[in-house]
Symmetry: C2
């Protein structure tokens, strides 16, 4: 016991002390409730998986970010990178799960990213997915669940952007951009729109080999038009199925009264390898630089990698940590009451037993209560402790109170002090608190 170790955190990891953690717990409870309301059921999977279960799904860059190691038994394992691939593993492993399988999962994921402002190596995702149907209703219902979740946190000004890879490819072809390598470069440039603006993007596209001013102009016009009238676009045959998917989602969300929160944006091309159809991102109107707070898409081929027939699937993922930071920046940070309702203060050892009995009775009645840590301390110190704990009430028990079976209940918000029989303290503070 003589080696002294510096108490410290790993870079990119965080502690959440009570005031902050109470707010996070409130957020998770709200999101969980929204997902349940939308008919999603909870699932839990391990943090550690065989590495091969996770490999080959996140792209080369994604894979480098895995926390991968050899366990004590010599197995090649890794911490989960997201909740989607574990879900696909579950769906492939338990083949008799009734489909469509609607599940939500709240869980920590790990990515060895370069830590930066708002980017962490450990964070919590809240996912809602539907496995086993290609219907655009499923895409819409995942998005609807996400919108409800965001609204339940008090957010109103945000837009879910919906894209589709097949439609985007068709649109590039229509604009005259066909070379796959050039397409990749174009997507990379389009991805910068939010950061650098459309003029700068135009300049970059003009200068891009294989594009040039003519194709660039056509492409930007088409992208623009797609936002309001994706149905009217002139697209090649290969893009028709994708367009139907996209239109189906829009129609369903309109019928659900959620059209105001949704817009078509074909520039979206999520980085993960497993997306196959519609893709989603969500930006806060007031914090566009924050990046997407809710993302997802369709992954109809992912399950094939586990040797089972393709099972069409779709889902969304809410990034709780980014959202928490966003709410704070917007001045809407959730603040949990981290303190109890009542601190019970015995004056002298003779009152201690009665005080502890009152604490127990209050808790039994559903009122958060605790005894002062130092029952022999002077009243002034005890009340200071109660204030430091952010308690609303102090229940004081001196010799007289104990003899009469009452407590002197002090309300810190009003300064009011009244004598209340023990059996009525819970109702007294419960009605007020």
């Amino acid at each position: 016991m003589t080696v002294r170790v510096e108490p410290r955190l790993l870079k990119g990891f965080r502690d959440f002390l009570p005031a902050e953690e109470a707010g996070r717990a409130w957020m998770l409870a709200r999101i969980t409730r929204a997902f349940s309301l939308c008919g999603f059921a909870p699932l839990s999977t391990p943090a550690i998986e065989y590495a091969d279960v996770l490999l080959g799904k996140y792209g080369v860059e994604g894979e480098k970010l895995l926390y991968r190691f050899t366990d004590n038994g010599g197995r090649d394992v890794a911490l989960r990178y997201d909740l989607t691939v574990p879900l696909a593993r579950v769906a492939a492993q338990y083949r008799d799960l009734p489909k469509p399988f609607r599940r939500f999962q709240v869980g920590t994921v790990w990515r060895a990213e370069k830590p930066a402002h708002g980017r962490f190596r450990e964070f919590v995702q809240c996912d809602a997915d539907i496995v086993g149907t290609a219907s655009p209703l499923a895409d819409a219902d995942c998005i609807a669940a996400g919108i409800l979740a965001l609204r339940s946190l008090g957010l109103t000004r945000f837009a879910v952007r919906i894209g589709n890879r097949a439609v985007l490819n068709g649109l590039l072809a229509t604009a005259g951009i066909a070379d796959p390598a050039v397409c990749v470069e174009v997507l990379r440039i389009l991805d910068k729109m939010d950061k650098v603006g459309s003029d700068a993007v135009r300049t970059m596209l003009d200068a891009q080999e294989g594009v040039g001013p003519d194709a660039a102009g056509r492409l930007l016009t088409l992208l623009d038009r797609a936002q309001s009238d994706v149905g009217g676009l002139d697209l090649p045959e290969s893009a028709q199925a994708g367009r139907d998917q996209l239109l189906g989602v829009l129609a369903a969300l309109r019928a659900m009264g959620l059209a105001d929160h949704v817009r078509v944006d074909l520039r979206i091309a999520r980085g993960l390898d497993y997306y196959t159809g519609n893709v989603f991102e969500t930006m806060l109107d007031d914090l566009p630089g924050m990046g997407s707070v809710m993302s997802g898409g369709r992954y109809d081929s992912l399950l094939e990698m586990y040797g089972v027939p393709a099972i069409p699937s779709v889902g969304i993922s809410i990034g709780v940590d980014r959202l928490f930071a966003a709410l704070a920046e917007l001045g809407q940070a959730p603040t949990g009451g981290a303190g109890p309702a009542v601190i019970v203060c015995p004056m002298g050892d003779g009152a201690l037993d009665a005080a502890l009995g009152l604490v127990a009775a209050l808790r039994e009645a559903g009122v958060a209560a605790e005894p002062v840590p130092e029952p022999s301390a002077r009243l002034k110190k005890q009340l200071e402790y109660a204030a430091r704990r952010s308690a609303r009430f102090a229940a004081i028990l001196g010799e007289t109170e104990v003899a009469e079976g009452v407590a002197t209940v002090k309300d810190f918000t009003t300064g009011e002090q009244v004598r209340v029989p023990w059996a009525q303290v819970a109702a007294h503070v419960g009605g007020a608190g």
Copy 2:
């Protein structure tokens, strides 16, 4: 995308599918509520810590069970083994946390144990601790929080066993057993009491070198007497402070009306290196072989290892996984309703928009609802889906219903079917559900 991987779990790790996970979520919510009622506030710490932060606290055998690896940046790191050591790290790192600091934490921990019946490599702990006071009131309040948590799960037949290392050592000395190496052997034998019974323990003690029949008899008599009258035991000076701690906890729990759930048992000698005073274990009366479902103790020296002055601390930890298994064995397994309240069934594409509108309105009103996945399927198939989802109601919208602004609401529990205006469906099913 051609390599096929077997979808499988690592040994000792588990998936929790919705029916089970809903029950676990219910348990965690109950325990969290009990801890909050007792004035504990939430804390969250990372799953990964610098290895040196965790080393030297769990004993040689414990340390072997760490998931320890080198991260991408070459750092020596490990997954947390419990929630107590991270709490100590937090208390040492944020020196200005107001004390006493009462926190609870619900979190996953990892131990590379040999998997066995009821023993896993990943499991969830729910801890309540008080950092910064040596008062036995704090020990009692942690135990009280744990008892409330267990009772809130419907458990009534259980006992918290309280021991104290200093008192146990004093008692060994009084019995005439002083050699430290012999003491270790004696503790190992006493630990088998639950499994092999007192006769077998007596035989082993009789045969133990350095003990013999006389000392064995004295020891067992003293241990027996300690259960009912630890205050009356003849103990050496070195054990007096420990006895006062123990008596203080018992008195406080008695004042809280919890004496029925508490008993003195000096045989308890928790394996972890960091315990210094009172130690606790909790056995279910009906499943003694299950082992302890709630354990803890005082760790007054742990923080010194981080180079800060000793800060007296105490806590309890509930093993949720073992408890979940216990509730199942007792026939009290919590079952969550994993399905939604209402499945909305449009008959034909003409009713789809109205159906989706009804889904949205129900959710807005706080009623869990979802549309059928295949709106063009026949009604019989749609109702089969609703039954498979364990929904209580189906709301059917055909052409007539849409024209009249009503839904035909079928109650699966009664078979009753009534026509309800859209605006009243939420109240209709909400009142019943």
